[in-house]
Symmetry: C2
Subunit: 315 residues, 2 copies
Amino acid sequence: MSNQIYIGVDLGGTNIKVGICDEQGNLLHTYEGPTGAEEGPDAVLGRIAQYVRKIVEDSPYEWEQVAGIGAGLAGFLDIQEGVVKFSPNLQWRNVEAKRTLEALLGKPVKIDNDANVAALGEAWAGAGAGVPNIVCYTLGTGVGGGIIINGKIYQGSNGMAGELGHMAIVPDIEAINCGCGQVGCLETVSSATGIIRMAKEAVERGEHTSLALHENMEAKHVFDAAKSGDEVALRIVNRAAYYLGRSMASISIVLNPKRFVIGGGVSKAGEILFAPIRETFKKYTPEVAAEGVEIVAATLGNDAGVVGAAGLNLR
Amino acid sequence: MSNQIYIGVDLGGTNIKVGICDEQGNLLHTYEGPTGAEEGPDAVLGRIAQYVRKIVEDSPYEWEQVAGIGAGLAGFLDIQEGVVKFSPNLQWRNVEAKRTLEALLGKPVKIDNDANVAALGEAWAGAGAGVPNIVCYTLGTGVGGGIIINGKIYQGSNGMAGELGHMAIVPDIEAINCGCGQVGCLETVSSATGIIRMAKEAVERGEHTSLALHENMEAKHVFDAAKSGDEVALRIVNRAAYYLGRSMASISIVLNPKRFVIGGGVSKAGEILFAPIRETFKKYTPEVAAEGVEIVAATLGNDAGVVGAAGLNLR
């Protein structure tokens, strides 16, 4: 086999997942092991190098075929220098991730943040494949995002492009404070955290809803109740969807991407979430801008990060 | 003189302005003449060719030095094919502008819409010079916009990127219908038309304001009254500025441009408009995204269109 392969690393707070992709973004092999973040950056970077060598050894490929290694992680990064300036979940500050890994592995290494890397994965080999300009949302504990222009991650002037969870989209009259210090961020209503908060508030207000039965509220409970016709739950889901749709309307008239790709745990709710998103998008986007623009579910699931990280050296 | 020159054409409903730029975007010569739109597309395109030949003949440059010709105009365009699909002010439908002009002049011709071309002009040789990523607003009768990424006009999937006037930014509770068919567009509050409408409504409601003195209300009257301390006028100016600032906050978290450039007649109001825009922008943009981002006035004035059009063949 003489073709080149690309290694992706999804560096999480608990686990490190590594994967081998071919030049088309097909994920051929994966390996997952503990992060051991408590042992500090040097130990974690050493473990990444160890997992990368192991997955190639266990595969039918030769080390010489490895064209490059990419890693995605949560945090503020200096992409050019490959430095993790601050990562809250790893508790890293100013860690020279790129140089250390390049020294350990003798291959080119690139790093990027997890939402950008997931977007690149979907653009390369997922729901955005073949489309040059896409915008991805990751709906989880927070709302992440990534912008792909001409098939590449678009970073913006401070590397802050695509931080869609912090679009100030909720009008002041009904806005609450966001953890980022702003008010009315999309994340306050359209993340799992936001949905759970709205559900708890409805229960506390004594609204008539089956959500009152849940002691440990999850976003899934709210979607399930909405599907069963619970009107309070439906109102909460519609509100989360409404602001997502409005944010897409704004983005459409700025960036006019061909496709919006929505991933993350919350997106698994399916049509009960997607239908009102599409309806709001259509209502607030001029027809000429909305024409042919699609709002679709991500297809790579948890693999988006490792595939996109592998793509950092190709795209 | 062996250097190449670039010709820009600003095709308006009343006048055609042509200009010669050098490779740095310096506007060396201009010539302006009537459009004669009532004679139809062929006559207008013939006139453009005539003006282009004339300005070169009257200049110290040789025809051989002309590297290319660009034209900016208002309307829906097929940029790739160089076809004007529909132009409301010229009343053109499916006009093959690029091919016709190339046949008449024997030089490469590119066309683009007026707001994009103005943005490119400012990016090349105006308030955005030297900055790779900028977003331009043109505040006039409507609100136009243009997005420059890596020094080039970014078109988006339907060529609708940068149509900033139609960002749905005003909350439903206070939104009005826009001419585009949507509700709550930025243009309804932050254009000259929007400012005049709000001023007239305040007068009709019998509010205590010096604006009641104006029979033919202009945006300038509102800014002048605001500068004189008229509280109603100040409220209207602040509202126009507020939604501009909020739209920039949204754009910053999506595109994170280094600089916002604001041009057009309304922008001449100066600090009374810019100060509340900057204040709102700062309030609604997370600090890490807002850091180092500038909101500045355009510097090329009415020349932005002709300079940017000249740049279409270079950038």
